[in-house]
Amino acid sequence: MNLADLSKGKSAVIAAIDEQSLAERLQEFGIFSGSLIRLLGTAPSGCPLMLEAEGTQLGLRKEQAALIKISPLD
């Protein structure tokens, strides 16, 4: 399962980030594999996604979110 499949308002734990530069950028915000991430919503057209992790809110495009593997809680 990846981040693009997460439904609105739900949280998950990041399992792996498949792309190096994306992983690096997220690391600068203190977001790593193992971080809790929540989907706040999406922009009106379904992309980009609005996420919250480690106290930071981020906008991320759907195709990049698809590179982030997650394991859902519960």
Binding site: L22, E28, F29, F32, L40, P48, G59
Partner: protein, 614 residues
């Protein structure tokens, strides 16, 4: 007084650096560089206890690994190894987001920067029940830590004291950072564990989510976005009209005054017909640019701009642009120059180039006077169905066409240019905040000042050159001169206009329009002045208004007017834009391609219009 000490402000975006900078330097600051929207090099000075300080404000970044053009500038300043490097850095951290700030701070520390840490927004931290143990933090980091509230003017004195007491040292050489982010964050988390506590029972909830439900709503979000755009256009065009008229009046009066008190001759002529119109040409833009900057700064500082970028990303990408192109495209309505500079935030070089390339299609405020003159020539100032003004509709159609041309060209370029790696589109969404008005006003002032000094030089210079070209001709040098002054027809400009006449005849233009087009390269709205001078010179006895003169036979016909409208809509007749493009793209290649592309498009559409209509 002893020698100046130099230090710089560093930190994440939105941590309050501009506010602190403003608080420290007050009036003693200046902005280098052209008026960009997010990037400018600000420096200033202040003194404390007889020691004077020189401060630089470095654009905010999250880390030392730069990706976009503006981040590159910032990190090169942070890692400056030259003799000009600041002696130390005052790091501005948002106390309510300490974890993120400490990452850059630790990177800088490892790189060898000497630092003072200020915990800004201390008022907010207190309100939210966040307690930070200053002494423990100092111990962990080994640097002075000062809690402040830049916008509430609290903690400024202790900060100055800490700066004053900061030990002098030679500039350190900076080294590359080796620690991996996960190592750094492990350390950060252990530091925060020790130094940061939440008051029991207080849970902070971001207020932004409530607002975002409305402002990012699938329907209302767009409605709101277009309302803001509408207000911005209204303000740029209608509010700016009043100060514009005052400026115009002022220059007419000053011109008449010089005309009266100075003896006739080339000097008076240069002043009255060359320098003053040039100056007024520069200042006429100022109200619009100030209003535009006001909107952009408020939208940016309040946090709305990021939402607008998110909202428009998908739409803009369809056209080969980028969510970050929205701000430049909006700025383009006032002037292409600040718009081009605003593209520096686009990290993907390809997207940035496409955005810069299509920006001049967007009708800037310099085109407006030309449009108004020509539209009033062909359409009555009447309404139909009681509400729609014919002229107003025509103007809207022109603006819309400009936007469509920009999007269409972007789409073409996007197909034609080699694809690059996926753009990493990752933006922090800040919380909404009320702008701090003194900073907003100061920023507007700074940007207007640099616009006048930078773009003004070009416009003024070209005006004076054009004045010389239209007042002197070969006969002034060969001695075959008859009468007192050179007539416009015999001047260099007249000869130029005549020379291009065969080229522009198919578009329905004569040599006078040719001169007006050439003179527009200073600034497009010069067209209006040139046309009225040229047609008045032809009929010195005729006291009718320029519109009446142009409406008569021998003036500008309907077909010619339409053809001119299209020509001005598409052609890149702006020397300043070309100069800025050259600087931003690092060579003449792109400005030349852009100029030719837009020129051909302008020529062909004007040709088609005239041939069909006449």
């Amino acid at each position: 007084m002893t020698k100046n000490r130099r230090f710089a402000l560093a930190g994440n975006p939105n941590s309050g650096k501009s506010t602190l900078f403003n608080e420290l330097t007050g009036l003693h600051q200046k902005t280098g560089n052209l008026p960009g929207v997010t990037i400018e090099k600000k420096s200033g000075r202040f003194s404390y206890k007889n020691q004077s300080y020189f401060i630089e404000d470095i654009p905010g970044v999250y880390s030392l690994n730069a990706r976009s053009a503006d981040e590159m500038v910032a990190t090169s300043l942070l890692l400056d190894n030259t003799a000009e490097a600041p002696e130390f850095y005052v790091f501005v951290a948002d106390a309510t987001h300490l974890r993120k700030s400490l990452f850059l701070l630790l990177q800088m520390q490892e790189a060898g920067c000497r630092l003072i840490l200020t915990l800004n927004m201390h008022d907010l931290a207190e309100k939210r029940g966040l307690q930070i143990d200053q002494a423990a933090l100092e111990e962990e980091l080994g640097i002075p830590v000062i809690p402040i509230s830049a916008s509430k003017k609290r903690g400024i004195e202790p900060l100055k004291e800490a700066i004053f007491n900061y030990p002098k040292s030679d500039v350190q050489t900076k080294v590359p950072v080796k620690s991996k982010p996960d190592q750094l964050f492990k350390r950060i988390d252990s530091i925060l564990n020790r130094c940061q506590k939440w008051e029991a029972g207080k849970v902070y909830k971001r207020s932004s989510e409530k607002w975002d439900r409305l402002l990012l709503h699938p329907f209302w979000g767009y409605v709101f976005f277009f309302i803001i755009l509408f207000l911005l256009f209204q303000a740029v065009f209608f509010l700016a009209d009043y100060p514009n008229q005052w400026i115009e009046q002022f220059f007419i009066i000053t011109g008449d005054w010089f005309q009266d008190i100075m003896p006739g001759g080339p000097l008076r002529d240069l002043l009255v017909n060359g320098v003053l119109p040039g100056l007024s040409g520069v200042l006429m833009f100022l109200p619009q640019i100030a209003i535009l900057f006001f909107f952009l700064i408020v939208l940016e500082d309040s946090g709305y701009m990021v939402r607008a970028t998110l909202l428009m990303d998908k739409v803009m990408r369809k056209a080969g642009l980028n969510g970050r192109s929205v701000i430049p495209m909006i700025s383009g309505v006032a002037c292409a120059i600040p718009a081009i500079l605003a593209t520096r935030t686009i990290s993907q070089p390809r997207d940035r180039l496409i955005t810069m390339f299509v920006l001049p299609f967007i009708s800037c405020s310099a085109r407006l006077p030309v449009f108004v003159l020509l539209v009033s020539l062909i359409l009555p100032d009447q309404r139909f169905l009681g509400i729609f003004n014919y002229q107003g509709l025509a103007l809207s159609a022109l603006y819309l066409t400009g936007f469509l041309a920009a999007f269409g060209t972007a789409w073409l370029l996007n197909r034609g240019m080699k694809k690059q790696n996926q753009d990493l589109f990752l933006m922090e969404i800040p919380e909404y905040r009320l702008p701090h008005w003194p900073v907003v006003l100061r920023q507007i002032g700074n940007r207007c000042k640099s616009f006048v000094s930078e773009a003004g030089k070009v416009i003024l210079g070209v005006s004076v050159i054009l004045w010389a070209l239209s007042n002197y001709g070969p006969s002034d040098f060969t001695g075959t001169h008859q009468g007192e002054t050179t007539s416009l027809e015999e001047s260099f400009a007249g000869i130029g206009g005549k020379a291009i006449e065969p080229l522009i005849r198919p578009l329905g233009y004569d040599w006078k329009i040719g001169i007006a087009i050439l003179s527009s390269f200073a600034a497009r709205e010069v067209f209006v002045g040139s046309i009225s001078t040229l047609y008045h010179l032809e009929n010195p006895e005729d006291q009718s208004s320029i519109l009446e003169i142009l409406g008569k036979p021998g003036g500008i016909s309907g077909a010619t007017a339409v053809s001119l409208l299209l020509f001005y809509l598409f052609a890149l007749q702006c020397a300043s834009t070309l100069v800025v493009m050259k600087r931003e793209t690092g060579g003449w290649k792109w400005p030349i391609i852009q100029f030719s592309f837009m020129g051909i498009m302008a020529y062909l559409s004007a040709l088609a219009a005239y041939q069909i209509l006449s």
